[in-house]
């Protein structure tokens, strides 16, 4: 609830000013205005001779099952450029909306009208766009504040966001505000045929276990998804949709971005854009074993990746790490050498088109996600593979 002054009705007579015990009303441009000092005591409501002061009731903060409608995707931008994960979320969002026979909407803070139209071509039926310059830099409170307001007003059934530094930081505030569930880093999302609940699958408990999480009673059901885990939807140049322009109000922030420092590590960019990645794990046994990985990567013009075990051992720098605490990658070919395949590693690479696993242990979980499995010693297999690749490529 908050108190609002109708600027068209207000004559600037100032009779409300003395009625406020908190000095929360001032005159600006000959009209009364309620400031943030307002305690919502309602003392001013009856004073106004024009009836220009009114109480605006907000819908209840908590939503229950059955109230929600539609699937929402938070489309993140950074420096005015839409993040790739936004299009991936529209891909999975389209599937979920199809299963629910509901609309798919995107919410975008900052960026331009052209970007909003781009979201429609990637699958959105409606785009809620707030172009307020406050969103040029990322501050959690205005992001969480406006998204929560929009959810309260439009009541989506599901909200998806990218598990990026931005999404992972402010989306929890929205969940706290709305008292609803939030599942981080989902690797697959589906709709339960019976209950229509969102089935949110994520790795759990550090071991080789996946958990399906549901949020049975509260709405919206919220989930974050890491970049490059979901596939983009179909891009349709001629697709049409609605753009709703939102005006942000009361967007306060206790934080302020003073400066942005760009630092792009070449390797991490290469990892994420690589066509082929050759990755090594504990099974390489050390820097000498890793040399075989590097040689194969050179023969294939591939990028070198690593499991957390290899990075923790100090055989290769952190920026090569693939997995939950490293980079999520989605190359055409991923060659995992001496990597057993802990869930944390698998979630970072299992969307790759072709996965080749080379491991001594036939029971290693890496073989569960493999397209081709080679059970063998990498010290024997890799030199042969590197030689054959060079032959095929005529080097």
């Amino acid at each position: 609830m908050f108190i609002k002054i109708d600027r068209d009705k207000c004559t600037g007579c100032e009779s409300c000013i003395s009625s406020c015990p908190y000095d929360a009303i001032l005159i600006r441009e000959e009209k009364a205005e309620i400031t943030e000092l307002c305690q919502m005591c309602r003392a001013c409501l009856s004073v106004c001779p024009e009836g220009a002061i009114a109480e605006v009731r907000e819908p209840s903060d908590e939503m229950e099952k059955g109230e929600g409608q539609g699937v929402w995707v938070f489309a993140e931008q950074r420096d005015g450029v839409l993040a790739g994960v936004s299009f991936e979320l529209l891909g999975i969002g389209r599937n979920l909306a199809g299963m629910l026979q509901a609309d798919l909407s995107a919410v975008m803070f900052g960026a331009s009208d052209a970007d909003a139209r781009e979201l429609i071509r990637w699958g959105a039926d409606v785009v809620y766009h707030c172009p307020d310059p406050v969103f040029n830099a990322f501050n959690d409170e205005p992001y969480a504040g406006l998204l929560s307001e929009l959810i309260k007003e439009y009541r989506p059934e599901i909200l998806l966001a990218g598990a990026t530094p931005i999404g992972r930081s402010f989306i929890p505030r929205v969940a706290a505000k709305l008292k609803t569930g939030l599942t981080a880093d989902c690797t697959s999302l589906a709709i339960d045929a019976e209950t229509k609940d969102l089935l949110q699958v994520r790795p759990a408990f550090g071991g080789n276990i996946m958990a399906t999480i549901v949020c049975p009673n509260s709405r919206p059901q919220m989930a974050t998804v890491r970049p490059r885990v979901m596939k983009r939807g179909v891009y349709d140049e001629s697709r049409e949709g609605k753009i709703v322009v939102i005006h942000g109000e009361h967007l306060r922030s206790g934080t302020k971005v003073k400066e942005t420092i760009k630092e792009i590590s070449e390797v991490s960019v290469n990892l994420q854009e690589a066509n082929i990645i050759v990755a090594g794990g504990r099974g390489t046994g050390g820097e000498k074993g890793f040399q075989l990985i590097v040689e194969l990567a050179e023969a294939l013009d591939a990028t070198v990746g690593a499991s957390r075990a290899a990075v923790d051992e100090g055989w290769i720098p952190y920026r090569h790490q693939v997995g939950q605490t490293g980079k999520t990658v989605c190359p055409k070919i991923y060659i995992a050498c001496g990597i057993s395949g802990a869930v944390q590693h698998l979630v970072g690479m299992q969307s790759s088109d072709i996965i080749i696993a080379i491991n001594k242990n036939p029971e290693a979980p890496i073989f569960n996600v493999a397209t081709y499995g080679i059970v063998g010693d990498l010290f024997e297999v890799l030199p042969v593979l590197t030689r054959r690749i060079k032959e095929v490529k005529g080097r």
Binding site: S169, A176, K177, K179, I213
Partner: protein, 260 residues
Amino acid sequence: MKIVVCIKQVPDTAEVRINPETNTLIREGVQSIIKPYDMHAIEAGLQIREKTGGSVTALTMGPPQAETALREAISMGVDRGVLLTDRAFAGSDTWATAYALFKAIAHIGADIIICGKQAIDGDTAQVGPEIAEFLGIPHVAYIRKIEDIQANSIVVQRLMDEGSDVVESSLPVLLTVVRELNSPRLPSLKGKMAAKKAEIEKLAAADIGAEEDQLGLRGSPTQVKNIFAPGVKKDRRMLDGPAEVQVDILVKELTGLKCL
């Protein structure tokens, strides 16, 4: 400056069992450690205290044996350990955990609250920002550097995808920290002595004025529906024979798919 560091004790190994009835973790009987990211949160708290003076309180929520984590924190130099323990907290998801910690922090009082980046057993990284929202204060997540700290404000570097942001925040504030921020100190002899003698304060749900229906399983919006091992990929092909033969098959397949 009143500093509160939220820490979490987690199972040391992968030998975690699950209660089949409630689908929640059984932590009893498993060796526990302070979750690694939280060590950096403790170190950050101690370094701020060295600059500004004041006190550092370590706060954890868990079973009575989580007391050992607080003693470990005290051995590093933390002034005080508070254990939030009550059967009512059992089975809390991130929302209910954040709610209980918020109530406890409101009870203790704090200018700066520091959390590790994520729990190694859940990796959700949600609890910190949720606590900040409940407290109605700003937060800055993934901080890698503290540049400046004054009586009413702090300047930090926040890790982003393509570099970092320099962010100024008013106090009170909640920070979540990454490993890069610092190297946690080892316990001193004096610290170890203090840890042995320290009185750990215990708080239950009623002490912090928490509403029962917001706690534990009942207060948790999310539920674990089931737990499973990841399945085998449908089109998987295991190759046979000596290395030379396997490599030949693989290279032929890849050439056929025009991958090379």
